[in-house]
C-alpha cells in the first residue's frame, strides 16, 4: 500500500495515525511501502493499493493520480478534499480561481506552486474504488473500508441522509430556531456528530444519494433563511451546480 497526499491539510493522514490503540492491527494487514508523512522509505515501483488524500490543484497532481491509478489495483480516496474537492474547491467558487491566485500572490506566482488548475476531486480524473467520507475521516471508517477492499464485503454504502441519524439522537432540530443545517441532504454515517455537539451540519460527508435538494431549499426558505445562504453553506464541501450532484440524478430526485 502507498499513501499519497495532494492539496490538503494532512488531517486525514494524521487521523489515520490517531487510531493509536488499533494502529498496528490496521496497518499490519498490508505492507505500507510508502507514506511520506510517517516514513523515509522511497516510493516503490509497484503496489496494489493507493490511498489518496487531498484535491487535485495542479497539472502535476493530475498526472500523479493517473500514474497511481495505472499501477494500483485499488484506489481509496480519503476525506472531503479528495472525494468532492472539499475545502480547496472553495477557491474555485464564485469570484473565480484566477482572481484568487492573484489576490494571494500578486502578478508573479512562485515556480514552487507548480501549474495551478482549478481544484477538483480525485474522482474527476481517475476511477476511484472506495471513498472514506468526512472532513476529517474517522480512523475506524478507514479501517472498515480497507478491510472491505482486502477481504470483500456485502455491506452496501449507506444512502440515507444525516437527518434520520440525528433524529435518533433526539437533540431537537436546528430549523426550529431558523438555523440552516445540511443534515437534510448530507450522506449519513458519522452519527450526526456536529449536530449532537451543537453545530449544524455543513455537509462534509458529501451529498446523500437520497438527497432532495429542492425540498431542502424549500424547508430552509420556509424557516426564513435567505436563499443565497443555503447555496453558500452547501458549497463549502459540495461544489458546482447543485452542490456537485449530477444533473441526471438531480432531475430524477427533484422530479
Amino acid at each position: 500500500m502507498v499513501v499519497v497526499g495532494l492539496a490538503s491539510c494532512f488531517g486525514c493522514q494524521i487521523n489515520l495515525t490517531n487510531a493509536e490503540a488499533h494502529l498496528m492491527d490496521i496497518l499490519s494487514q498490508v505492507d505500507v511501502e510508502y507514506w511520506q508523512l510517517t516514513s523515509s522509505d522511497p516510493m516503490p515501483e509497484d503496489f496494489d493499493i493507493a490511498v489518496i488524500e487531498g484535491a487535485v490543484t495542479t497539472k502535476e497532481a493530475a498526472e500523479t493520480v493517473k500514474a497511481l491509478r495505472g499501477i494500483a489495483d485499488t484506489v481509496i480516496t480519503i476525506g472531503a478534499c479528495a472525494n468532492t474537492g472539499g475545502i480547496p474547491g472553495l477557491a474555485a467558487e464564485g469570484a473565480g480561481y484566477e482572481e484568487r491566485i492573484a489576490a494571494v500572490y500578486g502578478a508573479t506566482v512562485p515556480a514552487a506552486c507548480g501549474t495551478m488548475v482549478a481544484p477538483s476531486a480525485v474522482g474527476e480524473h481517475i476511477a476511484v474504488d472506495y471513498e472514506v467520507a468526512c472532513c476529517p475521516v474517522e480512523p475506524l471508517d478507514f479501517a472498515r473500508v480497507l478491510q472491505h477492499a482486502l477481504y470483500g464485503s456485502n455491506v452496501q454504502q449507506l444512502t440515507a441522509t444525516l437527518c434520520g441519524e440525528c433524529k435518533r439522537n433526539e437533540r431537537g432540530c436546528f430549523y426550529e430556531d431558523g438555523t440552516l443545517c445540511l443534515g437534510l441532504v448530507t450522506r449519513c454515517g458519522c452519527g450526526a456528530r456536529c449536530p449532537s455537539l451543537g453545530r449544524p451540519c455543513k455537509g462534509c460527508a458529501g451529498l446523500s444519494a437520497d438527497a432532495n435538494l429542492k425540498g431542502a431549499r424549500a424547508i430552509s426558505a420556509g424557516c426564513g433563511i435567505p436563499t443565497g445562504r443555503f447555496e453558500e453553506v452547501l458549497r463549502i464541501f459540495n461544489h458546482g451546480e447543485g452542490g456537485g450532484d449530477s444533473t441526471e440524478a438531480r432531475s430524477e430526485r427533484e422530479g
Binding site: G5, L6, A7, S8, C9, F10, G11, C12, Q13, I14, N15, T17, N18, E20, A21, L23, M24, L27, W35, Q36, L37, T38, S39, S40, D41, G54, T57, A61, I87, P88, L90, A91, E93, A95, E99, R100, I101, A103, V104, Y105, G106, T108, P110, A111, A112, C113, G114, M116, C135, P136, R193, C194, L197, G198, R199, K202, R229, E232, V233, I236
Partner: protein, 429 residues
C-alpha cells in the same frame, strides 16, 4: 573544483511537501533552499465574500495538526472586531484546546517524525516490535492529546464546539476529573521523554536569527496575550501591529511567503524553543525541573534543541491541563462557556495565538453584515523557513569544513528540517 549536490524530494516525516536543494562548490555552499512545493489552497482568498460564521470553520482546515490553533486564532480576530469579551471559563477551555493540540503535535512530531532518525529507523512502526513499551507509551501520549482535543472540541482534528464568544458543548464535572487523572498519570512518561530526547546526539549549532514568542507578565501564555516579543533584539509589540513589524516576502522556490523582522531585517525562529527562551521561568514546576535537568535554559540557540523544548512542553501541558480540568470541575472560573451575545459590526482585527509550532496571526476585515472583505494568515512555519535556510547553510559549511560525507550531511540537514517541525501545508495555506 569539487562539486557536490544534495537533493531530497519530499522530505519524509514532515507535514506537507518540501524539497531540499544544497549545492557545494569548492567547499562553499552556493545554493541552499528548502523548496516549499506544497500546493497552494488560497485560504485567504477563499474566505473572502463569505460570512464570518464560517471563517473559523474553514480556517481550521489550514492544518490537520494545529487546527485548534487556527480556530481559536480566527475566533479571536472576529472577537477583536465585534468587541466580544469571552468569559474566564471560555478562556480556560480555549487554553485547554490549544494545549491539547500541543500534546497531539509534540507527541506526533517527537515520536512519529523525529525519533526514527535517532533510532536509525525509516519510521516509528518497527519500534512496535523492537521496543513495544516505548511505542505504546509514546502513542498513548499522542492518544491523550487527541482525547483532550475531543473532550473540549468534540473531535481530535477540526474542533466542532468552539464558536465566536464561547462553546456549544461542555463536559460534565465527572468527565473533567476523569481526564485530570489520566493527564496526571501520563506525567511520568513525559518527563522520561525529556531525558530521551536530551540523550540524542545533535550537532552543535547556534542560530544567528532572532526568536519570536508571545509573552505575558508572570505567565507562559499560549492564547491570552496580545504582546509579541523578539527575544534577542529585546523589544515587544502589540499583535495588532504585526504588519508593521513582520515583513512577508515571496521567493521563487517557495509557495509559502517567507518572513523577516522589519526593524532589524533578520530572519527568526518561532517555536517551542522560542517560547522557552521567552518565558522559561513561568513553566510549571515539573516542566521547569525537567528542562533544568536537561540543561535547557535561556538563551538556547541550537535549533535541534527544539525537540527537547517540545518534550518539556509536553510535561508543562499535562500539568496545566490537569489543573485546568480540576478547576473546571470545581466551577472555579467566572461565567459559563455558553456563547456570549454580540453584535455584528464592520472592522479589522487580528487574532494571535501560540500554535504548537509558534506564533500564528489571523487578520480579518469584515463589512457591517459580517462578510469577510479580506483575510491574511501568517503561520509559524512560513515565518521559520528563512531562518531554517540560514541554519542549513551554517550547518553545511561547518560539516564540509570538518570533512563530513554527503550521506552524513544529508541526514543531519533532514534532521534539522524536522527539528523545526515544519508544517508545510500550513505555511502555504
Amino acid at each position: 573544483m569539487a562539486r557536490t549536490a544534495i537533493n531530497v524530494d519530499h522530505v519524509a516525516r514532515v507535514e506537507g511537501h518540501g524539497d531540499i536543494h544544497l549545492r557545494i562548490e569548492g567547499g562553499q555552499v552556493t545554493r541552499c533552499e528548502l523548496a516549499v512545493v506544497e500546493p497552494a489552497r488560497l485560504f485567504e482568498a477563499m474566505v473572502a465574500h463569505r460570512s464570518f460564521r464560517e471563517a473559523a470553520y474553514v480556517a481550521s482546515r489550514v492544518c490537520g495538526i494545529c487546527s485548534a490553533s487556527h480556530v481559536v486564532t480566527d475566533l479571536r480576530a472576529v472577537e477583536a472586531i465585534f468587541g466580544v469579551v469571552p468569559t474566564d471559563r471560555t478562556e480556560a477551555l480555549r487554553e485547554m484546546l490549544i494545549y491539547g493540540s500541543y500534546l497531539q503535535n509534540h507527541a506526533t512530531h517527537l515520536f512519529v517524525f523525529a525519533a526514527p532518525d535517532f533510532l536509525g529507523r525509516p519510521s516509528v512502526f518497527p519500534v512496535a516490535e523492537t521496543d513495544p513499551v516505548l511505542f505504546d507509551r509514546a502513542l498513548g501520549l499522542k492518544a491523550l492529546g487527541n482525547e483532550l482535543c475531543c473532550a473540549v472540541g468534540g473531535r481530535s482534528i477540526h474542533p466542532i464546539t468552539a464558536v465566536v464568544g464561547g462553546f456549544t458543548h461542555e463536559l460534565s464535572a465527572a468527565e473533567y476529573l476523569a481526564l485530570a487523572e489520566k493527564l496526571e498519570a501520563a506525567q511520568e512518561f513525559a518527563v522520561q521523554a525529556v531525558d530521551l530526547f536530551n540523550g540524542f546526539t545533535v550537532p552543535d549549532l547556534a542560530t544567528e536569527g532572532d526568536m519570536l514568542a508571545m509573552v505575558k507578565p508572570g505567565e507562559y501564555p499560549v492564547c491570552d496575550s496580545n504582546t509579541v516579543r523578539f527575544v534577542r533584539a529585546g523589544y515587544e509589540f502589540d499583535c495588532q501591529a504585526v504588519n508593521d513589524e513582520i515583513e512577508e516576502y515571496a521567493v521563487d522556490h517557495s509557495a509559502a511567503l517567507l518572513a523577516r523582522a522589519k526593524r532589524t531585517g533578520t530572519p527568526y525562529m518561532t517555536a517551542a524553543l522560542a517560547r522557552l527562551n521567552a518565558s522559561w521561568e513561568h513553566l510549571s514546576k515539573t516542566a521547569r525541573y525537567a528542562a533544568a535537568k536537561a540543561g535547557l535554559r535561556p538563551l538556547e540557540l541550537n535549533p535541534y534543541r527544539n525537540n527537547v523544548a517540545q518534550a518539556v512542553e509536553l510535561v508543562d501541558a499535562l500539568e496545566r491541563c490537569a489543573r485546568l480540568c480540576r478547576r473546571l470541575a470545581a466551577d472555579e472560573f467566572e461565567g459559563t462557556s455558553v456563547p456570549v451575545a454580540y453584535e455584528v459590526r464592520a472592522g479589522r482585527g487580528i487574532g494571535f495565538t501560540e500554535a504548537p509550532r509558534g506564533c500564528l496571526f489571523h487578520e480579518l476585515e469584515l463589512d457591517e453584515d459580517g462578510t469577510v472583505l479580506r483575510a491574511s494568515i501568517i503561520t509559524p512555519t512560513a515565518q521559520n523557513v528563512a531562518n531554517l535556510e540560514a541554519d542549513m547553510r551554517r550547518l553545511a559549511e561547518a560539516m564540509i569544513a570538518a570533512g563530513a560525507s554527503d550521506d552524513e550531511l544529508q541526514l543531519r540537514i533532514e534532521e534539522l528540517v524536522r527539528a523545526y517541525d515544519p508544517c508545510l501545508s500550513c505555511s502555504v495555506h
